[in-house]
């Protein structure tokens, strides 16, 4: 024993992590801003490395998103599905139900509503649109209900189940495209027909009216979560199921109900994307939005108004980098690298909200 003691020198470790007291909200915002600036610096280094002027490129991203009316419309178009899907999963996340199946729920919403868009396109326009929204809600809701049912009945892992259902949904589209819903006028090319004008969403200020639905949802979801009994139940279940049972809540019912809503909102996202932007049912209707929404929801701390802001910034980045690509002849991947760097810093700063590093000698020994 004595020997081992001699080998270990009296030395404090160089760096150690220490849990800090809870930071104030202002501090947290400051920290995030610093992280964002650092991200821009690091991204700038990357741009320098590939031989461009970082300031010019950053400027292109911002101006690219806003340079013309069309550019702004395109930015908003990116934003609509992201905003809505994030709001949808927020309900589930607040309950600590890890719904990573927004992708599948978006697709099923689009599939259900497309049935009416394709085969009942002669209905009166308003009736048709309302039916499409309702069927989209049901489609997404059902896709959310399946994992919720198994979770509440057999305590299955919702992360796995929602993820798997994404793939099933994706292949449902492929099946419809190659089989029953194949466009007869496409001369053998597997695709689903373009929706008739009657089944397309109207435009307001040059963009499909989905953006209004999105803005309304921000307010509705906020009120639902903060001021209603349902919202209160969701928070309690999320905190502890034991507490909710103790309080006499029907936990199963709450899980099922919330997942129908969560999936349903994602389903409406699918309606808006297919009938408002794609004008057909394409396999890319969700296109990864369901996953990006997870990041958006977390960055916004599950706050609907925060989600509005974060999804806006995401869309600017998305649209701006596509302009940057075409202007400077960059590859798609370099824009993705840039996005990755920014995300890395912002998500990384969450660590510093809860921990700090203590260096040797600083407030340490002696």
């Amino acid at each position: 024993m004595n020997k081992s003691q001699e080998n270990i020198k009296v030395r404090e470790p160089l760096v150690r992590t220490v849990k800090r007291a809870e930071r104030s909200n202002l501090d947290i915002i400051k920290l995030r801003i610093i992280a964002f600036i650092l991200a821009l610096v690091a991204g700038g280094l990357f741009i320098l490395l590939i031989g461009f002027n970082p300031f010019e490129l950053y400027l292109t991203i911002v101006s690219g998103a806003f340079r013309s009316k069309m550019a702004i419309q395109a930015t908003v178009k990116f934003m609509i599905p992201l905003l809505m899907a994030s709001l949808g999963i927020t309900l589930a996340f607040k309950m600590k139900f890890w719904n990573i199946g927004a992708e599948g729920q978006i697709i099923m919403g689009a599939v259900f509503s497309s049935y009416f868009a394709l085969f009942y396109s002669d209905l009166p326009h308003i009736v048709l649109i309302i039916i499409m929204f309702i069927s989209g809600f049901i489609g997404g809701g059902l896709w959310g209900l399946i994992p919720a049912y198994f979770k509440s009945k057999f305590n299955t892992n919702e992360t796995l189940l929602t993820l798997m259902l994404n793939y099933i949904a994706l292949h449902v589209i492929s099946f419809l495209r190659d089989g029953p819903w194949k466009d007869p006028g496409s001369s053998g090319f597997p695709k689903i027909a373009r929706f008739e004008a009657n089944a397309q969403l109207d435009k307001i200020l040059g963009v499909q009216f989905g953006w209004i639905v999105g803005l309304i949802l921000v307010v509705v979801v906020f009120i639902y979560m903060v001021y209603t009994k349902h919202g209160y139940e969701i928070s309690v279940v999320g905190e502890s199921q034991a507490t909710s049972r103790y309080a006499g809540m029907n936990v199963k019912k709450i899980i099922l109900r919330t997942m129908i809503l969560s999936g349903g909102i994602c389903g409406i996202t699918g309606v808006i994307q297919s009938a408002g932007s794609d004008m057909t049912l394409a396999a890319s209707v969700a296109g990864g939005v369901g996953f990006t929404a997870i990041i958006v929801a977390w960055l916004a701390n599950l706050n609907p108004f925060g989600i509005l802001m974060v999804s806006f910034l995401f869309s600017v980045l998305e649209k701006g980098s596509s302009v940057m690509q075409s202007t400077y002849g960059l590859s798609t991947y370099s824009a993705s690298v840039l996005q990755g760097i920014i995300l890395f810093f912002i998500l990384g700063c969450e660590f510093f909200i809860r921990y700090k590093f203590v260096l040797r000698h600083k407030g340490g020994n002696k």
Binding site: M1, Q5, K9, T228, E239, T243, Y246, A247
Partner: protein, 511 residues
């Protein structure tokens, strides 16, 4: 060797401080312990005992000050370092692998070559006979009683050659008899030259086992006294900081009518074993029925089955002659029985940690208001009222309750339940983790309810408190009821034996 032991301290702490955010957990602590000595570390919850010991065992690193072991200044930056320095910590919650046997658990994590079972067994038996420990090396952990598991934990650190032993509240899970056995082992280890630090807040144990007592209060070392020159009263005063009366009131209530009748209640655990076996008792208005038993003897199952939180296998719970078994908590609340359950797991079950007092107040009552929206006004009023009445320390009623101290959390929970005017009040470990002052506030609250004619079921762990506070005590052991005794006619020893599984004639049934 003996010369060395006399001249050098096993551990010497100089000016050790540890700060968590804005909380000073340990403030400039100077403490030492010799080989061949048992030091008791006494202090209320939150006084910094565990933090101090965690710095010795390498879990935390001090922000200031030095630690010397056997005369040399050292730096303990990980539990491995601590083991290398011969420090072994026995935690309150055992850290054992249930499916392995005792031997495997003992050698687990050591870097040496795996010995043949036979040799290993001899080696372990050798160590255990040296210190007077009893162990079956091949017994699986899941087949062991709590005290056997503790023995394995002790052997684990002895096997690693620990000369310095730290025990964090080792007696919390033991019966009085098992505690005595543990103390005998500790004394034997002391004779062999080990230095032992025992963390506890039970005064009589401090007095019976330790040589010296170090008292911590609010992170500061108040005093170190020789046990033989001290007494219970002096230690309490040092611990609390002012004179305290240690007597708990037990008001008498006439006319006791049975309100809750539990008949042949059995509960199945998830693993298929019986958590409760044919429990029979009657709970009367205006009495406090204490429940004694070592941890995990079925107390949790008892509370939760009465509250409707878990399914029962057979039996009935009659409340005013109506069977409430099979009803959901929500239905039980609606029946107008108004039963309140204060669970042991306060932030995990009774309260929502991330919410403030206001939102916690409406946890059970939010459904009563009409409409789709919640009405926070009544809860806010109640929260303000309780804050003043029970002197709950919190900057405002919207601060998350998890940021409050344990005593205040308990006041919030108990306050909410009492406010619902219950007929039956079930409380599980209501004073666990509370300082002496808060504990007495809680005892007073319970007595107040008893005088109002409420039937109180009090699940406790400190036998002294149970004996003073309750009118009758039910003793549980392994899910079986070993009897109900009148506190005026029983002794601590008798209850201890019942906790260990012995039934007495004449005390088996209720009535």
């Amino acid at each position: 060797m003996s010369n060395l032991i006399e001249t050098k301290y096993a551990i010497e702490l100089k000016g050790v401080s540890k700060i968590f955010g804005s909380v000073v957990a340990n403030d400039n602590i100077n403490l030492n312990i010799k080989y061949g000595e048992i030091l008791a570390l006494l202090g209320e919850n939150g006084s910094g005992k565990t933090t101090l010991m965690n710095m010795l065992s390498g879990i935390y690193y001090p922000d200031a000050g030095t630690i010397s072991i056997a005369g040399d200044e050292v730096s303990i930056s990980s539990p491995t370092d601590a083991i290398n320095y011969g420090i072994g910590m026995i935690h309150q919650h055992f850290k054992l692998v249930e499916v392995l046997n005792a031997m495997d658990n003992i050698v687990l994590g050591t870097k040496e070559k795996y010995l043949k079972p036979k040799i290993l067994k001899d080696k372990i038996l050798n160590i255990s006979s040296k210190f007077g420990l009893e162990i079956e090396p091949e017994k699986k952990i899941y087949n062991m009683s709590v005290s056997e598991k503790q023995t394995v934990e002790i052997l684990k650190v002895l096997y690693r050659g620990a000369q310095i032993l730290i025990l964090d509240e080792p007696t919390a899970v033991l019966t009085p008899q098992e505690t005595e056995k543990l103390f005998a082992i500790l004394r034997k280890m002391k004779e062999q030259g080990s230095a032992i630090i025992i963390i506890t807040h039970k005064l009589h144990e401090v007095l019976s086992v330790s040589d010296r007592v170090a008292i911590l209060r609010k992170g500061k070392l108040i005093d170190t006294v020789k046990t033989e020159d001290s007494n219970e009263k002096q230690l309490t005063e040092l611990m609390v900081g002012r004179p305290v009366s240690l007597k708990i009131n037990r008001p008498e209530v006439e006319s006791k009518k049975t309100i809750l009748n539990v008949v042949d209640l059995s509960v199945m655990n998830e693993d298929g074993s019986l958590g409760l076996k044919n429990i029979n008792f009657k709970l009367k208005r205006g009495e406090i029925l204490g429940v004694a038993g070592i941890a995990g003897s079925g107390q949790k199952e008892l509370c939760e089955s009465i509250a409707g939180l878990i399914k029962i296998k057979s039996g009935a719970v009659l409340c005013n002659k109506e069977n409430i078994i099979g009803k959901t908590p929500d239905e039980i609340i609606n029946l107008g029985i108004s039963m309140s359950f204060v669970p042991e797991d306060r932030l995990g079950m009774g309260l929502v940690g991330s919410m403030g007092m206001v939102e916690n107040m409406m946890l059970k009552s939010y459904r009563k208001s009409k409409g789709f929206f919640i009405d926070k006004k009544p809860s806010r009023k109640l929260a303000e009222y309780l804050k003043n009445k029970l002197q709950i320390v919190t900057p405002n009623v919207d601060m998350p309750v998890r940021m409050m101290s344990g005593g205040n959390v308990q006041k919030v929970l108990l306050g909410r339940e009492i406010d619902s005017n219950p007929n039956v009040l079930i409380t599980a470990y209501p004073v666990r983790g509370l300082d002496i002052n808060s504990s007495y506030v809680i005892y007073d609250l319970l007595n107040e309810q008893k005088l109002k004619g409420v039937a109180v079921l009090f699940i406790g762990e400190d036998l002294d408190v149970l004996l003073e506070l309750s009118d009758r005590i039910m003793v549980l052991c392994n899910g079986e009821m070993k009897g109900i005794v009148d506190t005026k006619e029983t002794t601590k020893e008798e209850i201890g034996l019942m906790m260990a599984g012995k039934s007495f004639k004449g005390v088996e049934g209720d009535e």
